[in-house]
């Protein structure tokens, strides 16, 4: 077990290194510069700025320097969006907002999606199943901003005299409701479909026949014997999805004006704020890697056949 985790950590470090290098080169290969805005500064000013931030040196040298600083815990300062504020500081204030909304979203998605999936499987072929299929297919195929806009329209003033929730995020609990609902809708629908498929698969397994032959009641057969097995494929999907949702849906954060990391990340790319791009990328990559590791460990908890120490995935 310890050996397995060590191996995974080593792999993670290598992955991170590759991500860093790739991002660094790609970021520099994209045309444009941090200093270009409505009033283009003079060439002399640009040169001076480039020199100040070390952007005049060859990319490989810059990368070396960046890696060196990073190992000492220094992710640099913002060069444009919040000039000279440490990147680490920016991430640690912005991520919690995204994460909070993300956690609420993913939790409700799981709590609703999995039982709905069970229900659909149990009632397969009935109108309940069909209704759920329609809802979930819609939820999976609708882009995030459509869901967010519909919610805004229905519950935040689109209908005359009917405004329960604020349109703009202000930190109150009411302002959490719509973003969380919008962000969790897609994973909820997806989970529900996945659970349904997995449940139908496990209901047809022979051990279910054994459970019935033992004289167990339906509830026990479904929730004890079928669900636990059905969760195995569902968990696979959950890992990346949790990371993705927690790091903030860019769309949802934009629609509701949430000062979260997702939105900030995208505007840092637009602004070519190189240190912020780098810092955020590393953070997100590390986060996704950690989530995947957590999921693999969770796997082991649900499925005793998985033997981590033998290097199986």
């Amino acid at each position: 077990m310890a050996k397995y985790i060590l191996k995974r950590v080593l792999m993670a470090v290598i992955t991170l290194f590759i991500v860093i290098c790739l991002t660094f080169f790609l970021m520099n290969a994209v045309p444009g510069s941090p200093w270009l805005s409505e009033k283009t500064p003079t060439q002399a000013t640009i040169d001076a700025l480039n020199e100040k931030y070390g952007l005049d040196q060859p990319v490989i040298v810059q990368l070396g320097k960046y890696l060196g600083n990073m190992l000492q815990g220094d992710f640099g300062d913002s060069i444009k969006m919040q000039k000279d504020r440490p990147v680490l500081d920016i991430i640690t204030t912005m991520f919690p907002i995204s994460a909070k909304i993300g956690i609420i979203a993913i939790v409700w998605a799981i709590l609703v999606g999995v039982p709905l999936g069970c229900l659909a499987a149990y009632k397969r072929g009935t109108w309940v199943d069909s209704l759920l299929r329609v809802i979930c297919t819609l939820g999976i195929s609708m882009p995030g901003f459509v869901v967010a806009t519909i919610l805004l329209y229905l519950l935040a003033g689109g209908i005359e005299g009917f405004k329960i929730f604020p349109t703009i995020f202000d930190g109150t609990w009411q302002s959490y409701v719509l973003p969380c609902a919008a962000l969790g809708f897609y994973p909820m629908c997806y989970l529900s479909r996945q659970t349904r498929t997995a449940m139908l698969d496990s209901i047809n397994q022979e051990y279910i026949k054994t459970a019935r032959a033992k004289g167990l009641r339906n509830r026990k057969i479904i929730f004890k014997h079928a669900l636990r097995n059905a969760l195995i494929p569902v968990i696979t999907y959950l890992g990346p999805q949790i990371a993705f949702t927690l790091c903030g849906g860019f769309v949802v954060e934009t629609v509701f004006s949430i000062p979260g990391l997702g939105r900030y990340f995208v505007s840092s790319i637009q602004n070519r704020d190189y240190p912020i791009i780098m810092g955020t990328t590393i953070f997100l990559a590390a986060f996704i890697i950690v989530m995947n590791l957590v999921v693999d460990l969770l796997y082991k908890l649900v499925d005793p056949r998985i033997n981590l120490s033998k290097g199986g995935n």
Partner: protein, 357 residues
């Protein structure tokens, strides 16, 4: 183990009909079979794949999956009408009075729960008051009874940590934990290799002697039947074509299909160069069964009448009957000869097998 010796019939199945109502039409998986089983008796059901052995067994325990339905006949267990029972009553019956074990021990245990968990659960399903410790103790006793050692460790293990033979032993322990009167074993040894097969058979024989339960042993291996059964029912295309004590079936088979089965059976004492003779032809299309004797298309003795009418059962000896026109003919000839000799005619029970016109 408590002794249960009761008199009277344990199970009586009369003219059972089971059909699957599929989009393509009605599949008459079981078309009128009858038999009875005493306590302490082991009956084998043999027949090739698709002949309706499992379907017939599932009907007894109420495990028929839709679109399967019992559409006629009766099943009486210890004097109670099984088909009239409610869903709740069937749940109480399953695993309690009647237990079932299946073919593939690899897939029949839930991979994510320990052996102990699954055994205790089987007991608790029917004995709500039993304490955790008591249940665990009973489970371990059962494991010991089926010849598993190191039971404390086994209780905590998962199915994938046990061998196939061991898992089948666990399945048997699970089946017997509530002391059922009737055990239905659906090809319990088919998926195991030969030496393990022999061990499991030995175990089942042993347990049967200890518990006096009745066993229905489904298999398509006549060798297994010879090993463990008192009597045999031979099924073909949903019909029971021959039925009788093991010795009669082996030494005086009355139905050409049974004879074919015997010829196609590998024998331990046979010379290695002796050829096994497979039964020619393909199994019956159950959606459109032929009229008359279902075996006719493959039968080397088929006569005109075979294609037109289902043969009636002919009594061939004590508890031995077969549904074949050849035997009817013989009977008639014997009767004629008997009358000429002035002896009373042989008793004939001309019951229709299968579909009643």
């Amino acid at each position: 183990m408590e002794e249960k010796q009761k008199t009277g019939k344990l199970l009586e199945v009369k003219d059972l009909h089971v059909s699957f109502f599929t989009p393509a039409g009605e599949v008459k998986a079981v078309g009128g079979i009858s038999y009875d089983l005493d306590y302490d008796e082991v009956m084998g059901i043999v027949g090739e794949s698709g002949s309706g052995k499992s379907v017939e067994a599932y009907s007894i325990i109420g495990l028929l999956q839709s679109p399967g339905k019992v559409i006629g006949g009766s099943i009486t267990l210890e004097g109670e009408d099984v088909l009239a029972k409610s869903k709740e009553e069937m749940i109480d019956l399953r695993g309690n009075k009647v237990a079932m074990i299946f073919q593939n021990p690899m897939t029949c245990l839930n991979p994510v729960y320990t052996i102990g968990n699954q055994l205790i659960e089987a007991l608790k399903a029917h004995d709500k008051k039993v304490s955790k410790e008591e249940a665990a103790k009973r489970a371990m006793e059962m494991l010991e009874l089926v010849g598993i050692n190191n039971v404390e460790k086994r209780m905590k293990q998962y199915p994938h940590e046990l061998s196939g033979g061991m898992r089948q032993r666990v399945m048997i322990a699970m089946g017997l934990i509530c002391h059922p009167q009737l055990l239905i074993a659906d090809e319990p040894t088919t998926a195991l290799d030969v030496t393990i097969q022999a061990q499991i058979l030995e175990l089942m024989k042993d347990l049967q002697k200890k518990t006096h339960m009745g066993i229905i042993f489904i298999t398509h291996n006549l060798g297994v039947v010879a090993e463990i059964c008192d009597k045999v029912s031979v099924m073909y295309a949903g019909k029971m074509v021959e039925q009788g004590p093991v010795d009669d079936i082996f030494y005086k088979p009355g139905h050409p299909y049974t004879m074919g089965l015997l010829r196609s059976m590998p024998r331990v004492d046979a010379e290695s160069y002796e050829r096994l003779i497979p039964i020619e032809g393909t199994p019956v299309d159950m959606l459109n069964p032929p009229e008359g004797c279902p075996f006719a298309p493959r039968c080397e003795y088929a006569m005109k009448i075979c294609l037109q009418k289902m043969p009636p059962y002919v009594e061939l000896g004590e508890g031995h009957r077969a549904a074949c026109w050849l035997r009817v003919q013989e009977q008639l000839e014997k009767e004629k000869a008997g009358q000429a000799d002035g002896k009373p005619a042989a008793e004939t029970e001309n019951k229709e097998a299968g579909d009643h016109e």
